[in-house]
Point group: C2
Chain length 403, copies 2
């Protein structure tokens, strides 16, 4: 049994984050999903329009399809008169033609009849029997959507790598696609570790605590486009850890919650170094010093601190950006600005993640103690205090990263 | 067959939005969901802690459990010496006691042994056999988490109505909850309407277009916490519309995409007025004039414009806030600021939703024509131009509402 070892060298926060990001590959596996379920996914192949949209010339307004020239000189006091020859509804092929002196009533979206080159809006007309009075002239092409005015067949309308927002889902539907090729979600295997950890719903014995970290990690990662599988709570012996990393070999991430501190049974970093490459062990970060990161095969291995707040803040600042990069999702945490309610002192040499509660533009400290999950639950988000900042003054403007 | 009627009176945008919001009730139905799937849901009942967290006094650091007084006066050059009496691992009940002159090795999270009142961090010690050198004094209570230091049994830790974020999921797990009572999601029934509309995946006949609106609405609403059921495309005869509204009677919303313009077959507003209360028909809004809203029984009925961009922008500015209010979700669209790349003129008397593409803090117009779904797919979001604004100048700062 080896003795407890203190951290030898802490990596600074920026270097740790850069190391993680440089070692994060973007996902290349793709899958087909129904367009109806594709919101929030990332398009894997550029989409070329297989058809024109609209596929025909159509009315852009309710009104009358006319020969524009017939309306020239029309005025409220001196309307032009046209003979109504029929009606065209949306979805129907027009049978009649418009010739000079006549018009056809037409609904928005209905195909334009032959002979007509404009639509007079219903608001600019009145009708008595078949006699339509036109109160305002229209130019040729007025209130008409030409075939392919939205999308021209053959055009590249959506590029590989774009996020599928509701408008882009609309483009796919407009082109008749039922399914679409998207990048697969990163697959994360989460291992709650530690002999003191038991699952919620069971009875708590003396000295035991409920598993918090697999819950916070799962909800955070799922909300950011990852597919998460949570394993049963395991001990953190060398053999158990090796087995866990092996089980995660088909996954993009193996995330251990707990077990990366300097306790003599905290062997993750040794196991990672033995099986693959250890990127770092220990960061000049508060909270979250004992975080480790490494790569075994194709799997990124994260050892998160066991303390719930340390685990979760580290997930926000280190794990989440990596997962979002792998998922090819935009890197835009929801941020805002606020002014500090009080002076805050920080330790030179350690980057600090400081939770705050924001009310009416003022940021109040929410930090309690590093084990206290309640401190985060009352917080709106966090601010970052860089390693070379000793002191933030009351009233200083800070950037809030919202949970 | 009635003649086409122009809109008689348009409601101004702010009044329309206010009318919708005032008529939107907050959902009262609740359901139990697993804590693991509760992220993004809204808590329905205040949670009282059924136990202390932690449930025992524990070490907050790896190190040695000591009698603090024994360490007073310790220095790197003049360490205090203590006899190591054993080890305590996390999850185990300690068997030994600490008495003056002795210490016990302890792991973070492990229960404190009787007699000890502080933990000396491993970094401030060295060990040879059973002789532990202490290099720095600690005060009583140092590096110890008291029982209930995070959560005290009986405390209200989460209030009804809060959004379940990852930290709050953590609080529920910490207290041992496996499931949680949340408000149900608003249920929306979407009716794609129009004889010209056919589902993606089918062959397109002349004069037909693919159903875009049920796709954009579904993706937008699902992403905002609604449960959406899309019905088959229906015609928009009076009887079909009545049948549709009846089918939606158990739903919170019936949303018709298309069929609310002034075309003579656009009867939704008549049917709503007949079966319930019509709140408005026609808004001084561009695009989106023909939007209608009413209430039939317990169902809010929205008639959206048929044009895809009009339908979707109206969903962003009118339908979405209503659904989020009903779901009790925070009303925080993702916004940002940018400066206009060009002058924009707008129509006095009509509130305008103007799509823009934002690059490097500059907002470029993305608008093409009101039927053009591609214009929205290339846009980052939109700006709002109020009804009494005629002109926005190049370089003006505007608020961007991101898609």
């Amino acid at each position: 049994m080896s003795a407890m070892r203190p951290f030898k060298e802490l990596m600074d926060f920026e270097t740790a984050k850069k190391t993680i990001m440089e070692n994060t590959r973007e996902i290349s596996v793709t899958e087909k999903v129904p367009v109806r379920e594709a919101e929030g996914r990332v398009l894997a192949a550029t989409v070329k329009a297989p058809l024109d949209v609209p596929g025909f010339r159509r009315a852009a307004m309710d009104g009358y399809a006319v020969v524009a020239e017939d309306t020239f000189g029309a005025a409220r006091t001196d309307p032009k008169h046209l003979a109504m020859k029929g009606k065209i509804f949306a979805g129907k092929k027009p049978e009649d033609k418009v010739v000079s002196g006549s018009c056809i009533q037409i609904a928005t979206g209905a195909p334009m009849p032959e002979g007509a080159d404009a639509v007079v809006m219903v608001e600019e007309t009145s009708v008595e029997g078949d006699d339509v009075s036109i109160y305002k002239p229209v130019y040729p092409g007025a209130n008409v959507s030409e075939q392919d005015s939205d999308i021209q067949k053959g055009t590249e309308v959506l590029y590989a790598g774009v996020l599928l927002t509701p408008p882009r889902i609309g483009v796919l539907a407009a082109l008749g696609f039922e399914s679409v090729e998207v990048y697969s979600r990163p697959k994360v295997m989460v291992f709650p570790t530690g002999d003191e950890v038991v699952p919620p719903g069971t009875k708590l014995q003396y000295g035991k605590v409920y598993d918090i970290n697999s819950y916070t990690l799962t909800s955070l990662l799922q909300a950011s486009g990852a597919e998460v599988k949570v394993m049963e709570i395991t001990g953190d012996s060398r053999e158990e850890l090796k087995g866990s990393i092996e089980r995660a070999s088909e996954y993009d991430y193996a995330v251990f919650s707990g077990g990366s501190s300097v306790g003599e049974r905290d062997l993750i970093f040794e196991v990672v170094a033995e099986l693959g490459t250890l990127l770092f062990h220990g960061i000049a970060l508060k909270p979250g010093k004992p975080t480790i990161c490494g790569i075994v095969g194709n799997t990124m291995v994260f050892g998160m601190p066991g303390y719930p707040t340390s685990c979760l803040t580290n997930a926000y600042v280190l794990l989440l950006p990596s997962v979002r990069k792998m998922a090819r999702l935009p890197m835009e945490p929801r941020t805002g600005k606020a002014v500090l309610s009080t002076n805050i002192t920080s330790t030179i040499g350690r980057h600090q993640i400081y939770t705050v509660r924001v009310e009416d533009g003022v940021a109040y400290p929410a930090f309690k103690e590093s084990g206290a999950i309640t401190s985060m639950s009352f917080a709106s988000g966090y601010i970052e205090i860089s390693a070379n900042t000793e002191y933030l003054e009351e009233g200083a403007e800070v950037v809030i990263y919202y949970f």
